[in-house]
């Protein structure tokens, strides 16, 4: 119920924003995902797509999909080394970016909410709401094209605790629609 309500409110925010959109783009990104205080997985890769919807110069809503392949855990017990699947983390949701700077160079703190799914061999899938926040740097060397790097902290709420991940990503985006 809580999850449904949260996502419904998120959808409301996105629809409201898209109706007044001034600029819509599409982007892809990749980087690393580092589990934090989490012995279930090791560092892995992270890839995804984003659809930045710039509503006003200072404010962008950005639906996203990301997929992380987390690193396996290796432990030696006795004389045998065992390997545990690090699992996959998939997420879709939306970020809100607060952009500062010039059209060529931007600094943007951001926060987001999404639906996260953790999959690991031999374990039940975990699907829960997650939250993210971070800081990004963006460059737009030519019109319509942007590149960015981000540091991000994701927290997937799993019942009474959470699983946390730090991400560092680099991405590029292209503006596909702009209102004058």
């Amino acid at each position: 119920m809580h999850k449904t309500l949260t996502l419904a409110l998120l959808a409301l925010v996105l629809i409201t924003g898209a109706a007044a959109a001034a600029d819509i783009g599409i982007g892809a990104f990749g980087g690393v995902n580092i589990p934090v205080l989490n012995d279930l997985s090791k560092q892995g890769s992270d890839f995804g797509v984003r659809v930045p919807v710039k509503l006003i110069p200072l404010f962008t809503v950005e639906p996203f999909f990301s997929s992380s392949s987390l690193g396996d855990v290796e432990e030696t017990f006795g004389s045998t080394t065992y390997t545990r699947d690090g699992g996959d983390l998939k997420a879709f949701g939306a970020n809100v970016l607060f952009t500062f700077g010039s059209p060529v160079f931007q600094l943007f703190p951001f926060a987001g909410i999404g639906s996260y799914k953790l999959e690991r061999a031999g374990a039940e899938d975990v699907s829960d709401v997650g939250y993210s926040f971070g800081l990004g740097l963006g460059l737009s060397p030519i019109p319509k094209v942007g590149v960015n790097v981000r540091g991000e902290f994701d927290m997937v709420v799993t019942d009474e605790t959470s699983q946390k991940f730090a991400k560092v990503t680099a991405g590029a985006s292209y503006s596909i629609f702009s209102l004058p």
């Binding site: 012995d39 061999a121 031999g122 605790t161």
Partner: protein, 185 residues
């Protein structure tokens, strides 16, 4: 526009505050050594191996005992050798009490809950080291629930390992109970 921003902020804040201790939490790996080696033999007093488990002897458990919310992952590992007998498997049962003495027992107690298995093994001479992923998938729902209850409780319980075939003589080397504790303040 201001309404949309305010709404999103309120949603995020309410969700975080509503989930209490989610921010200061961690998943911590720990393990309990099973007797090394032990044998289970269908025709003797070693029909099952009684393993009293006291998690309070583990520093990772003691350090986080007050903050435990559950188990994020678990496995039973080891090398299984069929000394004599047909192909079969190894099963592990759990009881919530700390039974003693450790060692051979003539039978699994009535009322014990199947926790894990069977981990299959071939006929006489067969030997295998079970994989971590495979082991994690061999836990039963009822057994796992009881184990989580014990982990969140006094941390003391007893495991009984036995064979699943009618006739068995199986040796277990370097057995381990591996737990990933889910803790949060």
């Amino acid at each position: 526009m201001k309404t949309s921003r305010l709404l999103l902020g309120v949603v995020v804040l309410a969700a975080l505050l509503g989930n209490g201790c989610v921010i200061t939490s961690a998943q911590i790996l720990t393990h309990f050594d099973l007797p090394n080696p032990f044998t289970i033999v269908s025709s003797t007093a070693d029909h099952s191996e009684r393993v009293p488990v006291d998690l309070t002897t583990l520093s990772e458990y003691e350090d986080h005992k007050e903050d435990l919310k559950g188990l994020a992952d678990l496995a039973i590992l080891g090398k299984f050798t069929n000394v004599s007998g047909p192909a079969g498997g190894v099963e592990v049962y759990i009881v919530p009490t700390l039974d003693t003495p450790p060692g051979g027992a003539p039978a699994v107690p009535v009322g014990a809950t199947l926790l894990w298995g069977p981990a299959t093994i071939g006929p006489t001479g067969a030997s295998r080291t079970i994989g971590w992923d495979e082991s994690a998938g061999l836990f039963t729902k009822a057994g796992k629930d009881l184990l989580i209850s014990e982990v969140k409780g006094d941390g003391q319980f007893t495991l009984y390992a036995t064979g699943s075939a009618g006739t068995f003589d199986i040796r277990v080397d370097e057995g381990e109970l591996v737990l990933t504790l889910d803790a949060g303040k």
